[in-house]
C-alpha cells in the first residue's frame, strides 16, 4: 500500500484500543485466586509498613523532643548573630526536596511513552496529546500522594508545635508543590531546547524562583492557613492546564528518551538495585564522551598500574556533573546548620552524617560504570585488589577534599579547632573506599533463604548485599562524628581515623564482590 493517503483526521483512539486488547488478554489469564492473593499481600505489606512507620515516627518524635530539651544551651554550630525568620531551615529543606523532585522528574520526562508506545503509537498520524496525557496524569497523582505521605513523618518529627490538622494540611500542600515541580519539568519539555547556555540558565533560574516561593508558602501552611494552601493550588492548577494543552509540542524522541530512563530506573527499583538506579539517572543522552584530559591520557603510563590510574583519572575528570550533588549537599548541610536555630548536637551530627551518606555514592560513578564490565579489568596484568586501589584513588582524593572543606566550614562556624580539617581529610579516604565498595555491590540474591537468629529470621544475604558501602561509610564516619562532638581532635582520634580509613581501603581491596 503506498499513496492512498488519508486526508480526514481519523477518530481512532490507540490508547483505548491497546488498553482494551491488553485487558482481554489479561482477563483470559488471571485467576480470581491469584488476584485475591496479590491484593491481600499488597494490603498486608502496606499495613505492616504503615504500622512500623507510625511507631518509628512517634518514637523519634519523643526522642527529638527530649534531645531538644536536654541539649538546650550546647550546639556544634552556633546560630548566626543575626536573626533568621522562623521556619527558615524547614523552607530550605522543602526547597531542596522540590528541586530534587524537579530534576529527577526532568530525567524521567516527565511526559514520556514506553518503548512499545513510542514505536507503535507515535508513528500514527494522530494527535499525540491523548497518548501522553494518561501517563502524565497518573504520575502527577502518584507524586502528590507520595510527597504527601513522605512529608508526614518529617513534619511530625521536625515540627513539634503543629497540630494534626496543620500537619495534614502542610503535607497536602507539599504534595501540591511537588506536583508543581513536576509540571515545571514538563513545561521545559514543551519548550524548544534553548540553544545558548544563557537561555538554559534563565529557564532554570525561573524554575528555582517558583520553587523557592512555593517552599516559603508551604512552611507557612503549618499554622493552619487554608488561604496559603489554596494559593499553592491556584499556581498548580493553571500550570497543569498550560502543560496539558502543550503536550503535543514535545518531540517524539524526547518522549521516548524519558520513557527509556523511566523504564530503566523502574526496573532497577523493582530489583532494589541502587547502583542501577544511579546508572539510569546518569545516562548521557547524546552518548558522546568528553575529551577532557585527552592529551594527558594519550601519554600513557610507564607501568600497567600507572596506565590504569591514568585511565581512571581521565574517566573521572570526564564525568559530567560529578560535583553537582556533593557541592549541593554540602551547601544544604551548612545552610540547615545555620538556619535551624540552636539545634541539639545529636540533630546536627545526624544532619552531617546524612550529608555524608548522600554525597559519597555520587563520587563512585566511574566505579559503577566499570563494575558492569568486570571482564575488562580481568584482561589487565594486575590483580583485582590493585585494580580496586586504582579505582579508589580519585574518589578518595575527591572525598578527602570534600570532607576537608566541610570541616573547614564547620571550624569557621566555631564547631571545633582546625585539626578537624585533618580529621575530615582522613575520613574522606575511607569515604572514597566506601564509594567504590558501594559501586561494586552486586544485586541481592532474593532466592537465598533467611537465616534463623534469636530475634527471628533475618535475610542476611540480601541485607549484606544492600548495605555494602554504607557499612564502611559508617565505619569511617564514627571518629569524625566523635571529633565534631568533642569539638577538638586528640592525637589518638586522628590515629583511630587513619586506622579506620585504612581498614575501609583494605576491605575494598581484598573483599570479594559477593
Amino acid at each position: 500500500m503506498t499513496t492512498e493517503t488519508v486526508q480526514a483526521p481519523p477518530s481512532f483512539d490507540p490508547v483505548r484500543y491497546t488498553r482494551q486488547a491488553s485487558r482481554a488478554f489479561s482477563r483470559g489469564r488471571t485467576r480470581f485466586r491469584d488476584a485475591f492473593v496479590d491484593v491481600y499481600t499488597a494490603v498486608l505489606a502496606l499495613g505492616t509498613i504503615g504500622a512500623l512507620a507510625v511507631g518509628l515516627v512517634l518514637a523519634l518524635r519523643d526522642q527529638v523532643a527530649q534531645a531538644w530539651d536536654a541539649g538546650s544551651g550546647r550546639t556544634l554550630v552556633a546560630p548566626p548573630s543575626f536573626a533568621l525568620p522562623d521556619g527558615t531551615a524547614a523552607a530550605v529543606l522543602v526547597f531542596a526536596a522540590l528541586v530534587t523532585v524537579m530534576s529527577v522528574a526532568r530525567k524521567f520526562g516527565p511526559a514520556s511513552v514506553s518503548g512499545p508506545e513510542g514505536y507503535w503509537w507515535l508513528s500514527l498520524p494522530l494527535d499525540r496529546r491523548p497518548m501522553v496525557t494518561g501517563r502524565l496524569a497518573r504520575r502527577l497523582a502518584l507524586v502528590w500522594a507520595g510527597a504527601t505521605v513522605l512529608y508526614l513523618p518529617f513534619g511530625f518529627v521536625l515540627d513539634l508545635q503543629a497540630g494534626m490538622a496543620g500537619q495534614l494540611l502542610t503535607a497536602g500542600t507539599f504534595g501540591m508543590a511537588a506536583v508543581c515541580a513536576v509540571l515545571l519539568a514538563a513545561w521545559q519539555q514543551t519548550r524548544p531546547a534553548p540553544r545558548s547556555t544563557a537561555g538554559r540558565r534563565r529557564g532554570l533560574l525561573l524554575g528555582l524562583l517558583v520553587l523557592a516561593l512555593l517552599s516559603l508558602v508551604t512552611v507557612r501552611v503549618a499554622a493552619g492557613s487554608w488561604a496559603l494552601a489554596l494559593s499553592v493550588l491556584s499556581v498548580t492548577y493553571p500550570s497543569g492546564l498550560l502543560v496539558f494543552s502543550r503536550l503535543n509540542r514535545i518531540p517524539g524522541r524526547e518522549l521516548i528518551r524519558g520513557g527509556a530512563v523511566s523504564g530503566h530506573a523502574g526496573a532497577a527499583v523493582f530489583l532494589m538495585d541502587l547502583n542501577e538506579v544511579g546508572r539510569a539517572l546518569s545516562a548521557e543522552p547524546d552518548g558522546v564522551a568528553s575529551t577532557h584530559a585527552a592529551r594527558w591520557y594519550a601519554r600513557g603510563g610507564r607501568t600497567p598500574f600507572g596506565a590504569l590510574l591514568r585511565a581512571d583519572t581521565a574517566a573521572f575528570l570526564r564525568t559530567r556533573g560529578l560535583w553537582v550533588r556533593p557541592v549541593l549537599v554540602l551547601l544544604l548541610c551548612v545552610a540547615l546548620l545555620l538556619a535551624g536555630g540552636a539545634q541539639p548536637p545529636l540533630v546536627q551530627l545526624g544532619m552531617i552524617a546524612a550529608a555524608v551518606f548522600v554525597a559519597v555514592p555520587a563520587l563512585g560513578v566511574v566505579a559503577r560504570r566499570t563494575a558492569i564490565m568486570p571482564g575488562l579489568d580481568l584482561l589487565l596484568p594486575l590483580s583485582v585488589s590493585v585494580v580496586k586501589l586504582s579505582r579508589m584513588a580519585l574518589p578518595a582524593a575527591a572525598l578527602a577534599l570534600w570532607t576537608a572543606v566541610l570541616c573547614a566550614l564547620l571550624v569557621l562556624l566555631d564547631a571545633g579547632d582546625p585539626s578537624l580539617i585533618a580529621l575530615g581529610a582522613l575520613a574522606g579516604v575511607g569515604f572514597g573506599a566506601s564509594a567504590v565498595r558501594g559501586a561494586y555491590r552486586v544485586q541481592p540474591d532474593w532466592t537465598a533463604p533467611p537465616i534463623e537468629t534469636p530475634f527471628g529470621p533475618v535475610p542476611r544475604a540480601q541485607a549484606g548485599s544492600m548495605l555494602r558501602g554504607f557499612d564502611t561509610t559508617l565505619l569511617a564516619l564514627v571518629p569524625l562524628l566523635l571529633g565534631l562532638f568533642l569539638g577538638y581532635v586528640p592525637g589518638v582520634l586522628l590515629l583511630a581515623q587513619a586506622g579506620f580509613s585504612v581498614v575501609c581501603v583494605l576491605v575494598v581491596m581484598y573483599s570479594s564482590p559477593n
Partner: protein
C-alpha cells in the same frame, strides 16, 4: 543545491551525536517510484543517516525535505507520508501479532483494516501465529511483523534500515518483490542494506557512505558489500 519536485531531497545533511558528525555531508534526491540504496561499512553512519532522514534524530546541519517540506517527525502530515523500519524490538507484551497490525491499520484509517491485516499476515507467513503474543514467536517472525507494520499503512516514502535482518533467504526475496511493487505504485524507498542480492534486486541508484559520501551504481555497491 535543492531538487524541486523530488519526494526526498537531501542537501548537505550532516548526521552524528553530540555535535560530532559520523560521516561526510550527504546530498541526494529520490523521485516517486525510485528505490535508493544506502551501503557502507559497519559504523559508517548509514543507520544514523536513515534515522535522521526519518526525523527520529536531530540533524547536525544541512536540510532534508520530504515532498518539499522540512523533516518534522512531530507533524502529522509527515508521519502520514513516511513509514520507517529500524532495528527496534519493542512490542506490547499483551497484544497479539494481529492486534499490533490492526493498531497500525486503524490508526492510519486503512479501508477495511481486517482484510488488510489478513493480507499482510498471509504475505509474511504469520497466519498461524497471528494470535500469539510477540514474546512467544521467533525473532525472525517479530521482524516480519515490523516489516508488515511498515507496509500495511499508506505512505509515499518508506525508510528501511537493514530489513533483511533475521529473515530467511526466501522471505528476503519476497520482501524485495514487495519493495519493487511498492515503488511501481509510485512510492519511494530508502533502503539501507548489507544484502547484495536485495540491493541488486531493488535499488536503481545507490549511495556509498565511506570517508566521503558518493553515488555509485548498485552493481558496484553489491560487489563492494560482497567483497568485504
Amino acid at each position: 543545491m535543492t531538487f524541486p519536485g523530488a519526494v526526498l531531497d537531501i542537501c548537505n545533511l550532516s548526521v552524528g551525536y553530540g555535535g560530532l558528525p559520523v560521516c561526510g555531508p550527504i546530498t541526494a534526491r529520490a523521485e516517486a517510484g525510485e528505490i535508493l540504496g544506502i551501503v557502507g561499512f559497519n559504523g559508517a553512519g548509514k543507520s544514523t543517516a536513515a534515522r535522521t532522514i526519518a526525523g527520529k534524530q536531530q540533524m547536525l546541519d544541512g536540510e532534508v525535505r520530504v515532498h518539499g517540506l522540512p523533516v518534522n517527525e512531530d507533524a502529522i502530515p509527515f508521519r502520514r507520508s513516511v513509514a520507517a523500519l529500524f532495528d527496534e524490538d519493542a512490542f506490547f507484551p499483551s497484544l497479539s501479532l494481529r492486534e499490533h497490525l490492526q493498531l497500525v491499520a486503524r490508526g492510519h484509517s486503512v479501508p477495511d483494516p481486517d482484510a488488510a491485516v489478513d493480507a499482510e499476515l498471509e504475505f509474511f507467513a504469520l497466519q498461524e501465529r497471528a494470535d500469539a503474543v510477540p514474546a512467544s514467536v521467533s525473532s525472525g517472525q517479530r521482524r516480519r511483523l515490523l516489516l508488515a507494520s511498515a507496509l500495511i499503512r499508506p505512505s509515499s516514502l518508506l525508510i528501511l534500515d537493514e530489513p533483511e535482518q533475521r529473515l530467511d533467504p526466501a522471505m528476503r526475496e519476497r520482501v524485495g518483490e514487495r519493495l519493487q511493487a511498492y515503488a511501481a505504485d509510485g512510492g519511494t524507498v530508502l533502503l539501507v542494506t548489507h544484502d547484495p542480492a536485495l540491493l541488486l534486486a531493488t535499488a536503481q541508484r545507490c549511495l556509498l557512505i565511506d570517508d566521503d559520501v558518493r553515488e555509485i551504481a548498485p552493481e558496484r555497491a553489491a560487489a563492494e558489500i560482497a567483497g568485504r
